[in-house]
């Protein structure tokens, strides 16, 4: 891991307090490699290493008995700061019903997250309604209905193929049935699919959601920033949910998306079961990325 690799770099130091430019270069190369191996975006890594270097040539490392450990401490601090504070609450405007809309690339975990969120909100005393706006994927609506049925949470499915019409009817249904939060599941889409991105933007404009959340797969590599940037520009989301964190992907994509879009990570999906949704822990994520 990075700790061991930095120790090896600094092991060759013969006298304490005399770190050369070359020593710092070697240490920064190790930090860079570790972050790239963890799937942090290559641009984010450049900026991050530049910041760490600034601190690495400062007193705290130069005067340290264990410069390698000091650099690891700095990296962890900077990563945690970059991950942001944990704000795993969903802020609603007060208008009823509140609306949460989920977006993201194909297969990221949106439909599962929709059900998990409904489950969580119900535990918090809300009465959610799930709305099925994926009219493309075979049996997508059946999937959401099956999950809703497992939880005993109602699912609205429309007749139309126009997702705006379905969503608006879903909100009316929530009002009629006195449900106080609507969770809208949408189809997976590519950020380069102009028609589908226009659909997402139109759906958001019609619904004026309290929260638009982008679901991102923890194993996503460099492409996470391409997708997140495009979704931020075209649809604009309020927060991120990172899914499949129960695996062993390091999850650097989460850091990059946060760094590049500034949007907070709200929750972590940690399994296929419908209670497998946790608040996001920035320091835990930072440690995981460091390996």
């Amino acid at each position: 891991n990075l700790s061991d690799r930095l120790q090896a770099v600094f092991a060759k130091l013969t006298s304490r307090g005399v770190l050369s430019e070359a020593d710092v270069d070697a240490a920064m190369r190790e930090v860079r490699m570790a972050l790239l191996e963890a799937d942090v975006n290559f641009k984010t890594v450049k900026e991050f290493v530049a910041r760490v270097r600034e601190r690495a040539v400062g007193q705290e490392v130069m005067k340290s008995l264990t410069p390698g450990q000091m650099v690891v401490k700095i990296v962890l601090e900077e990563l945690t700061a970059l991950m942001g504070t944990s704000e795993s609450r969903l802020v609603f405007s007060g208008r009823l019903p509140a609306v949460v809309m989920l977006v993201g690339l194909q297969g990221s975990g949106k439909t599962t997250v929709a059900a998990k969120l409904a489950n969580l909100l119900r535990k918090q005393g809300k009465s959610p309604l799930l709305v099925a706006c994926d009219v493309y994927r075979p049996a997508a609506i059946d999937q959401l209905e099956a999950l809703g049925s497992q939880l005993g949470i109602p699912v609205y499915r429309g007749e139309a193929t126009d997702v705006v019409a379905i969503a608006e009817a879903g909100v009316k249904d929530a009002i009629a049935r006195m449900r106080d939060v609507v969770i809208v599941d949408t189809a997976g889409r590519l950020h380069v699919d102009e028609e589908m991105m226009a659909e997402a933007a139109a759906l958001k404009a019609a619904l004026r959601p309290d929260q638009v959340l982008m679901v991102i797969d923890a194993m996503t590599g460099q492409d996470a920033v391409n997708a997140a940037t495009a979704f931020a520009e075209r649809v604009d989301f309020d927060g991120v949910i990172v899914s499949k964190l129960d695996g062993d992907a390091r999850g650097g994509a989460a850091l990059s998306v946060r760094a590049v879009t500034g949007r907070p990570i709200k929750f972590a999906g940690v399994g296929e079961k419908l209670d497998a949704l946790e608040p996001f822990h920035p320091e835990r994520m930072a440690k995981r990325i460091l390996g």
Binding site: Q106, D217, T220, G221, D223, G247
Partner: protein, 276 residues
């Protein structure tokens, strides 16, 4: 890269490195490749940027090319389609069923994901699109039992291509990997012809893709990879490391959500998309 000018200046090498990293080639593989090319250029074995790019393209293409057989290429065969959650297995089974059936194979599908909500319903739609029979058991059944029934049906129908969809699972789940190994054993016991295993990988996957391939290969033995979602901006560069370490051939690519969006794998095109 070439548009920035013909010279091999620092900016060129940095841009080249960025292109390889962006494609998910990985930090170590990227620096090895770039260092080696810089050395060749310095010794004047490579005159300009165009020469460097051509060289990298042919190296990448050579790494991912394979002369191992296409598991779908020589029926009769039973293929287990496996992989982590959400990569495109069910969709790829549907696409494969259609193209193989159109090519004259007698295809039967086994609905082996008895776990996830509406997985059976999803595959049923694909089987209809491909106009291929699908064998099912109720949700919650033992997937090995579905494999058994599917192979019985295949024998009765004189099928020569059996495609088994399986539930997505993380390689970190020991129980689920054991379940899959059992499914393969049942397939080998009941299949009148060879059983192959194909891993479906998502092109957006980063370095974890190598771990996935390693673990699925260790548990089951892999005969091929289908790389999906190449119609996005991800390049799937992690398969270079997979090819290098495990030698598993990439046998198809997924380029969309439609029934015909499956193509043969072209190493040259793959390399060109990374450093074009």
């Amino acid at each position: 890269l070439l548009r920035k000018g013909p010279d091999l200046d620092q900016a060129f090498w940095e841009d080249l490195e960025d292109a390889l990293l962006q494609a998910d080639m990985g930090a170590l593989a990227t620096s090895e490749m770039v260092d080696r090319l810089r050395d060749l250029a310095a010794r004047e074995a490579l005159p300009d940027a165009e020469a460097v790019i051509d060289r990298i393209q042919s190296e990448i293409a050579a790494e991912v090319a394979s002369d191992r057989p296409d598991p779908f290429g020589a029926p009769p065969v039973t293929v287990l389609v496996v992989g982590v959650n959400g990569t495109g297995k069910t969709t790829s089974v549907g696409k494969l069923a259609k193209s193989l059936s159109e090519a004259g194979n007698r295809v039967v599908i086994g609905s082996g994901d008895t776990f996830r909500a509406a997985a059976i319903e999803q595959l049923r739609v694909w089987a209809e699109r491909a106009d291929v029979p699908v064998v099912e058991r109720p949700h919650g059944s033992d997937p090995a039992a579905v494999v058994f029934d599917t192979l019985e049906a295949a024998k009765q129908r004189g099928a020569d291509t059996v495609l088994i969809d399986t539930a997505g699972r993380l390689h970190t789940s020991a129980d689920l990997m054991l379940e899959l190994a059992k499914v393969k054993r049942i397939a080998e016991r009941e299949s009148p012809f060879p059983v192959r295993v194909v891993l479906v990988m998502d092109a957006t996957t980063g370095q974890n893709g190598l771990v996935q391939a390693r673990e699925f290969d260790r548990a089951l033995g892999l005969d091929g990879i289908v790389l999906t979602k190449l119609d996005g901006t991800a390049r799937g560069g992690i398969v270079v490391a997979v090819a290098r370490e495990l030698g598993v051939p990439i046998v198809r690519i997924g380029v969309g959500e439609g029934a015909d969006d499956l193509e043969p794998f072209d190493p040259g095109a793959f390399a060109q998309a990374i450093v074009g």
